[in-house]
């Protein structure tokens, strides 16, 4: 594999292979940012991978009162799934169990989209007949009576079919400390890109997977080519000086957002340099056989 070295960091001449996904966004507000974040974190907590969680979700951006529909602090949450049906199911379950239940919360559409997904239109039944429908201009809200007052929830939010999931960067370093340092720094800059989430814990995944397994029924298993302790015994992608690899996976509202996030992460790794961070940056793909989107690292260099 050809590669280039920038600021001492080896950049593989490879690409990340990503997939088309369905996505939506909501805005959750609350009396204080603390409570908006509680609701958001609860809702997006178990949403790291569509493989086992049904969806991938996280906070896109925190919003000051001046930028929310009701003038209270809030945040925008992005949710990604493989199908519209699953996305709709996950959206209702999570908002119903984690936002509806959260003190002082309100929930609004976060995306216009191409078609509506039910939000308050389905959750309204919790009001047991006392729910109130209000149309203001061309927006439709439901007010559901609850113990602390009313849960205001917009009737629908929008669906986009242009979302992309699975953009990624692999950081190969000499030690765990160095791998963590570059992953943390990259996650911080990548999070600042709008319309993008990093669904794994802290934005970073340590257990990158490959397709298939020796065990019947397991669709994914450890990415042995990048596991340093298996270096001698499998077809390893690692050379002698790499002792830890961490990955950042990116889901974006658009392909452009994913590319921008990958470029930001790449730039951070390069700036940090090989002594403090990554010796080498790579990306994961399936030979271009599974995903519609390809992000070549050499095109994303600063």
């Amino acid at each position: 594999m050809q590669s280039m070295t920038v600021n001492g960091v080896l950049i593989d001449d490879t690409f990340a292979e990503a997939f088309g996904m369905r996505a939506t966004a909501i805005i959750v507000t609350a009396p204080t940012m603390k409570w908006a974040l509680e609701a958001a974190r609860s809702m997006t907590g178990f949403a790291t991978s569509v493989i086992g969680c049904g969806c991938e979700a996280a906070i896109d951006v925190e919003l000051p009162p001046s930028e929310t529909p009701d003038g209270r602090p809030g945040c925008r949450i992005l949710i990604f799934a493989v199908s519209t049906d699953e996305l709709q199911k996950q959206l209702l379950k999570r908002v119903g169990q984690c936002v509806l239940t959260s003190p002082g919360s309100a929930c609004f559409a976060g995306l216009e989209g191409i078609e509506p997904l039910k939000l308050g239109a389905a959750l309204r039944y919790f009001g047991d007949g006392w729910q109130i429908s209000k149309k203001i201009g061309d927006r439709h809200y439901w007010r559901i009576p609850v113990m602390d007052g009313e849960f205001v929830c917009e009737a629908t939010t929008g669906l986009t079919k242009s979302a992309v999931g699975g953009g990624n960067l692999l950081f190969l370093a000499g030690s765990h400390e160095q791998a963590l340092a570059v992953a943390e720094a990259a996650a911080e800059t990548m999070r600042k890109i709008a319309g993008v989430i990093l669904p794994f814990p802290g934005g970073v995944v340590r257990s990158g997977s490959k397709v298939g397994s020796k065990y019947k029924g397991m669709t994914a298993s450890t990415n042995d080519a990048y596991a340093p302790s298996l270096r001698g015994q499998v077809e390893s992608a690692l050379d002698a000086n790499v002792n830890a690899v961490l990955e950042i996976v990116i889901d974006g509202e658009t392909s452009e957002a994913v590319a921008a996030a990958m470029a930001a992460g790449l730039r951070t790794a390069i700036e940090l340099g090989p002594e403090r961070g990554a010796l080498r940056v790579s990306a994961g793909n399936y030979g271009g056989k599974l995903g519609k989107f390809q992000y070549h690292l050499k095109d994303l260099l600063p």
Binding site: T29, P69, D70, G71, R72, A106, W130, I132, S133, K134, K135, I136, G137, Y141, R143, G149, E150, V152
Partner: protein, 267 residues
């Protein structure tokens, strides 16, 4: 532009004069349009001096309380009356804008389903309300009365926004089905009489509240800023209406009782 020559001697039906209905007509054709309802057979040319071209906007220079049905059934475009209008202004309009720089008679905006009707002066009884025999009143759109409205404003309202800024008579929002009715300045007796659903927003206590409304106490909801912002962005109010300490009355419990009267603090 239709410039009124003199006060009409009888009530006129101005419903043929909308931008859509006049599109493509030449001046001679327009002047022959019948507006009178009696054997006098009054036509446009007998009452108005017609000038300018037919476009998206029609202006009546000079109005009259005998101008009935201004902009009736209108779907697009703009009508401006520099003067008063009569009964049923904007009746069943579905879109577009009507501005009456004066007062309007009864049934202004009757059965409107869309668009915006703004009356800078006062409006008669049954603003937005249904005509005799109709099941529902306003079903959409925005009706603004900057002066005072008469009795039963928003009668049988189904949807939409009706805002009255100079007080109103009795039974505002009577038999309301849903929608939002805003009254600034004193509302008369028993607003929301037989209201099923819908919201009546007041900036002060009305003359009386029906005993079948039950106070549910101080009301604090994220809905308040949503309606406040909408009223400001629509150019209806300049400051937020619902403040902290707003009191809510649930009713009308004589019927379905899933509606409310919200009285803003300070009232």
């Amino acid at each position: 532009m239709f410039t009124l020559v003199s006060e009409p001697p009888e009530r006129l039906d101005l419903s043929p004069l909308t931008p859509h209905k006049l599109a493509g007509m030449g001046r001679p054709e327009i002047e022959k349009i019948k507006l009178g309802l009696s054997k006098r057979g009054l036509a446009v040319g007998d009452l108005f001096r017609v000038s300018g071209d037919v476009g998206e906007t029609i202006v009546f220079e000079g109005g009259s309380s005998r101008f009935d049905g201004v902009g009736s059934g209108m779907g697009e475009g703009e009508i401006r009356v520099n003067g008063d209008a009569g009964a049923q202004a904007g009746c069943k309009m579905a879109g577009g804008t009507i501005v009456i720089e004066g007062s309007a008679g009864p049934h202004a905006g009757s059965g409107m389903s869309g668009g915006r009707l703004e009356i800078t002066g006062s409006a008669g009884d049954f603003a937005g309300g249904p005509l005799a025999g109709e099941m529902a009143g306003m079903s959409g759109g925005v009706l603004i009365v900057r002066g005072r409205a008469g009795d039963q404003a928003g009668d049988r309202m189904r949807r939409g926004l009706l805002a009255i800024l100079g007080g109103c008579g009795d039974y505002a929002g009577s038999r309301m089905i849903a929608g939002t009715l805003v009254v600034l300045g004193r509302a008369g007796h028993m607003p929301g009489y037989l209201l099923r659903r819908g919201t009546v927003l007041l900036d002060q206590l009305p003359e009386s509240i029906s005993p079948s409304f039950i106070e549910s106490g101080k009301w604090d909801s994220a809905f308040a800023p949503l309606i406040n912002r909408h009223l400001i962005s629509e150019g209806i109010l300049e400051t937020p209406l619902l403040r902290k300490g707003t009191i809510r009355f649930c009713g009308d419990n004589a019927v379905l009782g899933k509606g409310e009267i919200l009285v803003s603090a300070g009232g």
